[in-house]
């Protein structure tokens, strides 16, 4: 498992992660999992990413009011909130998981999110 794990929806990241790595825009140990919608993401998947070795986990979904599936990214943000609570209960830094929002097909916020999380890990 890469040290930084990101979950993105189909509508945010439009570039291959390897291309971003080649350009040195994101950390080498970044792994991104694409979901049809971040609303599909459940708390256990976030926690399991840590169990499998991730040091920081982030989720990038559509802007809340422009979600392709209406409320998917809003739901994802609530799950991230609960995952933070569990990390806290386990004496882990809750900032090791974070929700970010991006416009359709925007790569930059994803790159920014990956860098932010790499600095927290």
């Amino acid at each position: 498992m890469s040290k930084i794990k990101g979950f993105c929806c189909n509508y945010t990241l439009s570039v291959e992660v390897d291309a971003l790595k080649e350009e040195g825009l994101v950390p080498e140990d970044l792994e991104i999992e694409r979901l049809p919608c971040t609303g599909r993401l459940e708390v256990p998947e976030i926690l399991d990413a840590f169990t499998q070795g991730a040091e920081a986990v982030f989720v990038v979904g559509c802007q809340v009011d422009k979600c392709h599936n209406l409320s998917g990214s809003y739901r994802a943000s609530k799950r991230v909130k609960y995952a933070k609570k569990i990390l806290e209960e386990l004496d882990m830094n809750p900032d090791l998981v974070e929700m970010f929002f991006a416009g359709r097909g925007e790569t930059e916020p994803v790159v920014e999110a990956a860098r932010t999380m790499a600095s927290r890990a």
């Binding site: 459940e42 708390v43 256990p44 998947e45 926690l47 399991d48 840590f50 169990t51 609960y82 569990i86 209960e89 386990l90 882990m92």
Partner: protein
């Protein structure tokens, strides 16, 4: 419904510290509706325990299951054989379910994952409020439907105590004085005169003060 909430992770990790093989069993009844112990919460707790145990340097094998209810024999009796294959069964039902598993599944080491808190209603997503204390002698017909047993901090029967100020309870300004609300409700229904009638002293044996309660309906017995 019965409202419950997950115990803190530290308490749960301590509880399963010697457990190598664990079965987490949810309940699709009340605790699923109040988002404390249904299918979803089972898988979250399972993932949280895996992470917690790993961080503590331990190992645990966790399996998941959810029953329709844990307060009916037909659903929990099969758990005796299944649960006996595990070091422990962590029940995500209310205390009723945990007790019933303990009573009927002698080969199972059952542990509680939740704190059972009260009988309440769902005010909005993520917010529940106590409404009834199961006193066994309901007086709501006298109080405009508002419960003075569960919703008055002192369970008073004949009006507010001296600490009722501005419609708020003296225990906490965020808590409504239910007797003020009863008065307002009966007034709005032109029934306020009924409050002059003194409620007799209550017999609390029906409320559990006379020991564990049991209800029998002859016509339904097998």
């Amino acid at each position: 419904m019965i409202i419950a909430e997950r115990k803190p992770m530290k308490e749960l990790l301590e509880m399963v510290s010697d457990v190598k093989k664990l079965l987490i069993v949810g309940c699709r009844g009340c605790v699923a509706v109040c988002s404390a112990g249904g299918d979803k919460e089972v898988s979250i707790l399972s993932a949280a325990l895996r992470l917690g145990v790993k961080r503590a340097g331990g190992e645990i094998e966790i399996h998941e299951d959810t029953l329709v209810r844990q307060c009916d024999p037909e659903y929990i009796d099969p758990l005796n054989d299944k649960g006996a294959k595990y070091d422990a069964v962590l029940s995500m039902a209310c205390g009723v379910g945990v007790n019933f598993v303990a009573d009927r599944c002698p080969d199972v080491n059952v542990l509680p994952a939740l704190n059972t808190t009260f009988y309440g209603a769902n005010l909005s997503s993520g917010e529940w409020k106590e409404m009834c204390a199961g006193c066994g002698a309901c007086v709501l017909h006298l109080t405009g439907g508002l419960c003075p047993v569960a919703r008055c901090a002192k369970s008073l029967s004949n009006g507010p105590c001296g600490g009722s100020q501005g419609g708020r309870c003296e225990i906490n300004p965020d808590v409504d004085c239910i007797w003020q609300q009863i008065y307002d409700k009966l007034s709005s229904m032109n029934r306020k005169e009924e409050l002059r009638q003194i409620m007799p002293m209550r017999d609390w044996t029906t409320a559990g003060h006379g020991g564990p309660r049991r209800r029998i309906r002859e016509d339904l017995l097998p």
